[in-house]
């Protein structure tokens, strides 16, 4: 698990240096920053921040590396294992526990001045606190919501639903339209489990019960899964959900072929750019026994073995200035994690953003537990088996719960 690229770059640099091609070394500190790629705007945005920072701090060089989300965890794993970890990185908060428990993440409490801390919204700070120590700062936040195609609803004579019963009835009307799928149901790859949690939570269930065991064998989970399965069987979803990733579902929605999808705020800028004529509305998830949405945060983390912590922190504080945060949140379509940006007109008055932000008071976060990725994978596999009809919802969920409890050591 070495880094051929870095090694070869080093050799190249060395040989160039020997021939005198490299300008005289400046006394500068290099801060390596691994950036998760949210969209094509992410890399250029952080480069702009870095350039502005370097203009003010010529002795610090910010070395930005943009890595796609799909390979980010693998990349960081190999970097850490190979002893070439960056100084700071954006990570999924769900990985933070692993990083923290292995001593890879640096607690930032000693760097965090009270005034800097007060710029953040507390709800989003909380998931980064592990055993009383702040292991990272929220860098991006989103809540999920339901998106309906208003034209299709009008055409079908359906009203956007507030409860699951209404959702089911409305879907039946929508499905009767030609060349239209009522409900876009994700069944492939990343976040297939999240699509189920939306239903699980609003039916009153939870990922883990109060005693820490899996909540998948609860009656609420069965109700949630049965509803999805019934909608597949009755032709209320697109056919064969297991062939549709999140992006595939969203593409169908942009094409105006799907009445309802569950989504994150980042879809809105995409719709505005790619399907400007689409009439949509952002609404809360249908309710069963509870109101819920999925809150997801990403974390800015500092690595424990960084040798440029002070410089890295200086850059972090710079990057959290309001002007940058505003640009980032607007560009990517995130919900703000800092108070000042959250107070901006765009985030309080825009109906789309407000629609997503409305769920924050009752948002649920993924539990911060060990082996989360594996537990999520068990859930994904089970949902796929249920959607495909390989197991009954009842059997599948019970087996999944047992497997998750075993992974949890319970």
């Amino acid at each position: 698990m070495t880094h051929p690229f870095r090694t070869s770059t080093a050799i190249l640099a060395l040989s160039l240096g020997m021939f005198g091609f490299v300008p005289a070394a400046m006394a500068e500190t290099i801060v390596d920053f691994t950036v998760a790629e949210y969209s094509s705007k992410t890399g250029p945005f952080f480069q702009e921040v870095a350039d502005a920072f370097q203009a003010e701090n010529p002795d610090i060089k910010i070395n930005i590396e943009v890595v796609p989300w799909d390979t980010l965890l693998q990349r960081l794993t190999t970097d850490v294992a190979g002893g070439s970890a960056p100084d700071i990185s954006i990570i999924g908060t769900r990985w933070l526990l692993d990083f923290a428990s292995q001593g890879v993440a640096e607690p930032v409490d000693s760097y965090l001045t009270p005034e800097f801390k007060s710029t953040f919204i507390d709800t989003f700070m909380a998931p980064g606190v592990i055993d009383g120590k702040t292991m990272g700062l929220p860098v991006a936040a989103s809540a999920r919501a339901m998106l309906v195609n208003k034209d299709l609803y009008d055409k079908a004579g359906a009203t956007p639903p507030k409860t699951w019963d209404e959702f089911y009835e409305a879907s039946k009307k929508l499905a009767a339209l030609p060349d239209t799928f009522a409900f876009g149901l994700q069944g492939k790859e990343i976040e297939t489990d999240a699509y189920f949690y939306y239903s699980l939570w609003t039916h009153g269930g939870d990922i883990l019960k109060a005693d820490g065991t899996s909540g998948l064998d609860s009656p609420e989970a069965l109700e949630a899964a049965t509803l999805y399965k019934r909608m597949i069987d009755e032709g209320l979803t697109q056919p064969s959900p297991t062939n549709y990733t999140r992006e595939d579902i969203f593409n169908l929605f942009k094409q105006g072929k799907v009445g309802t999808v569950f989504t994150f705020p980042m879809l809105i800028p995409q719709i505005k750019a790619e399907a400007p004529d689409l009439h949509y509305e952002v609404l809360p998830f249908p309710e069963g026994k509870a109101k819920a949405t999925y809150g997801v945060t990403d974390t800015m983390m500092m690595f424990a073995d960084s040798d440029a912590k002070a410089e890295a922190w200086k850059f972090i504080e710079f990057a959290y200035k309001d002007e940058w945060r505003e640009k980032f949140d607007m560009g990517e379509g995130f919900l703000p994690v800092t108070r000042n940006v959250a107070a901006l007109d765009h985030f309080t008055k825009d109906p789309d953003v407000a629609g997503f932000a409305a769920g924050l008071p009752y948002a649920k976060f993924a539990p911060i537990i060990a082996n989360w990725e594996e537990i999520a994978d068990v859930t994904v596999r089970t949902m796929q088996q249920i959607y495909l009809g390989e197991v009954s919802a009842d059997e599948g969920l019970k087996a999944a719960a047992a497997e998750i409890n075993k992974i949890r050591g319970l």
Binding site: Q102, T242, N243, N371, R381
Partner: protein
């Protein structure tokens, strides 16, 4: 004495190369073995010796056995299919015809594209609603409803095998073409004079003379295909419901998603030994056959 030195000189001369090979091949395997007997943190730090615990975990894991079985099907189907197609393709390309150069380039072209890119393109082409394949089939009137190729494991796996065959053809054709062009023409001429049909020429001249080339194509392809991650990973990530997982995709998930490097190391080691056993067995079989074939000739000489 001098004789002994003379004898040891060649040994001495290959020693540095041998040592290098052992270091380069041997060390990672040793490291893998060492890792597989430890508890490993998700960042590769060994946190304690646990003997065969990783292996025990692997061997009771039903997903491991399912993946192993599927790896067998995958390897046999892809390598078998590749050979079955490459052989006639190579023979056609070996014949002199107008535009042969262009035809050869077309066959070799997929080789120039990385496996991952090919897989990405196929993933798009196979998309149920927006994919080119369904659009083509529907336009041609072959199907009237789009087929969701990757929605169920059974169709997805077959499609993946076909793509696997497609990308293995250029390499295999090259090997076979090399063999065919070194074939002695007089044997064919003699056969034609004796009235041998095309099939007979193939069965009794081409095939036996091509054996060494076919064997090398089999061994190399088995090694590549057995270990090949990109096609399956890009198209289905081993899903749905782990239905297209082969050992290497399962291993990748374990190592880089779940952070279970110890268990992943154990599976890698198992994979290494499976391949080693196959290669040794195959080479042994082939050389025994060769000896059997060669034996009568030697008798004649005596």
């Amino acid at each position: 004495m001098a004789n002994r030195i003379q004898k040891s000189v060649p040994m001495m001369m290959i020693l540095p190369g041998l040592a290098l090979a052992i270091a380069i091949i041997g060390y990672p395997i040793f490291d893998l073995g060492w890792t597989s007997m430890h508890d490993v943190s998700r960042f590769g730090k060994l946190t304690g010796f646990n003997g065969g615990e990783n292996f025990a975990e692997v061997f009771v894991d039903p997903l491991f056995w399912e993946s192993l079985w599927r790896t067998g099907i995958w390897t046999v189907a892809v390598v078998g299919g590749t050979l079955a197609i490459s052989m006639p393709v190579a023979m056609i390309l070996n014949d002199d015809f107008h535009g042969r150069g262009v035809a050869r380039v077309i066959i070799m072209l997929p080789w120039a594209i990385s496996l991952t890119m090919t897989a990405v393109v196929w993933r798009w082409a196979l998309n149920g609603r927006a994919g080119l394949l369904n659009a083509t089939l529907m336009n041609a009137g072959i199907i009237d409803q789009p087929i969701e190729w990757l929605a169920t494991a059974s169709t997805a796996f077959v499609v993946e095998i076909l793509v696997g065959i497609l990308v293995s053809i250029p390499f295999t054709t090259t090997i076979l073409l090399g063999g065919l062009s070194s074939m002695p023409q007089d044997a064919y001429e003699a056969a034609v004079v004796d009235g041998a049909s095309g099939w007979h020429q193939f069965r009794y001249i081409t095939l036996p003379l091509m054996k060494p080339f076919i064997n090398i194509a089999i061994v190399l392809n088995v090694i590549y295909v057995f270990n090949s991650l990109p096609i399956i990973w890009v198209m289905t990530e081993g899903g749905p419901a782990n239905g297209t997982d082969i050992l290497v995709t399962y291993l990748y998930k374990l190592a880089f998603r779940f952070g279970q490097l110890g268990k992943a190391a154990a599976i890698s080691l198992v994979m290494f030994f499976v391949l080693l056993a196959f290669t040794m067995l195959y080479v042994a079989l082939v050389s025994r056959n060769d000896r059997d074939d060669a034996a009568p000739e030697e008798e004649v000489k005596e």
